[in-house]
Amino acid sequence: MIRPELVCPAGTPSAMRTAVDAGADAVYCGFQNATNARNFPGLNFTVPELERAVAHAHAGGTKVLLALNTFPPAGKVDLWKEAADTGARLGVDAFIVADIGVADYIARTHPDIRLHLSVQAAASTPESIRYYCREFNVKRVVLPRILTVPEIKLMADEIPCEIETFIFGNHGLMVEGRCSLTNYITGLSTNMDGVCSPAAQVEYIKDDAGNLSTRLGEYTIDCFSCNESAGYPTICKGRYLTPAHDGPYYAFEEPISLNLSTLLPDLMKAGVTALKIEGRQRSKAYVKSVVSAYRKAVDSIMAGQDPQISDLLALTEGQKETQGAFKSKTWR
């Protein structure tokens, strides 16, 4: 069994240092602009910060993967090209891309730097993945969270690149890179502006009884009673009134986090070579806890022992966790 790479989130330089110290094999991060899908206020790296962070990560034997995983609008491609050129100059180990124009530019301009295909590309068939590998020399695909472990195993036999899967964090079942729910409500695009549910349009309202309403733009998307766990203010995890259901319900997804700790041995046997922890928007306390837990679990599996799994429930969205489609297509 190949020792998988533990790929960890870094929203700030401090979070990156935390991930490196906690045992990350690779960290992924982005610049403070629309070139990445976590373009949140106050998050991400300036060029000097990334320069120092790359040096720190490499000194600790950790790779740095730069997320350029949004889709440039017409006439604005230069921002993505400049980000790629800067990343190459700073010595990042790979680019994570979704757009074929960005992939093509990097493949031609920086052919010595690895290309990873972002989950934002939503490539879920051997045919599409082979296309990216053939045309852009993609070395790794980050699979959408919609495949079972047996399906991933079949995929591994049919594609000429490494497989990375999410193992913890956002459940993320919408067709990533093509979800326009936020755009519909806020006018901003997850895929081009890099931000789902922009914080400037999120509002929380607590009433005298302790109920918490979540609003995005002009819409109330959920209301949590006083003792109910809360979730992120995203459209896909809102509760709605529809004619098809009695009372408000989670029509798309529910507030819940992916946690594949008990499936790790199966994933590794299926040919997954990189395990990704979601959460660049989370704190360094989250990074420390989750990375440490998975470092310990992967190391114990590689040592032939039963995986030692820490309880991470307190860090999950809605205080609930699932194995999602990795376990079964009928998880709800």
Binding site: S14, Y204, I205, T220, A314, G318
Partner: protein, 183 residues
Amino acid sequence: MLQQPTVARMQHTESKPAIAGFLQRRPRWAPPAPLFLLQPVLRRIVQRIAENNPDMFGRLGPHYRAVFVIDPVNLPFVMLLRPDPDDLMLVARRRDEMSEYDARISGSFLDLLMLVDGDLDGDALFFSRNLTITGNTEAVVCLRNALDDIDDSIAEEVADMFGRPGRAALTALRRMNEKRETQ
């Protein structure tokens, strides 16, 4: 079909937060907390943190002039923070003496302390309903990211300002947090 908004936009005259623990136990005849003693201490604290961590202000973006209410719900006062490096403010106020603000962050004193110190995850506290955010969410996100990018312990910086008693108090608070987490 999306549910149409049913709740009016929050005003700064929002309902008071739950007043727990200490304040609820305080007899009605008791005098208000002597906040004037706290003000110079808070001023020193915020100045020290700003001096030691000048890079944090860049993450605040346009919100460096925002006024944040830091509301430890089990203490008899709130703190007003304006993280403007040229016009820093951290002052204590009684809840009935509140002025206008941009965003309010409410939680237990221990949770807020551990949050600022990078020992707890703000999203997890929010999910568990132990942290409440109202007002300008983007400003809060910026403040959270600015504080989270500080490597050194803010709590230790503050404790060191007060010498051995400060460090002893911090040790006691951390023990309380560890005990709570293992329960």
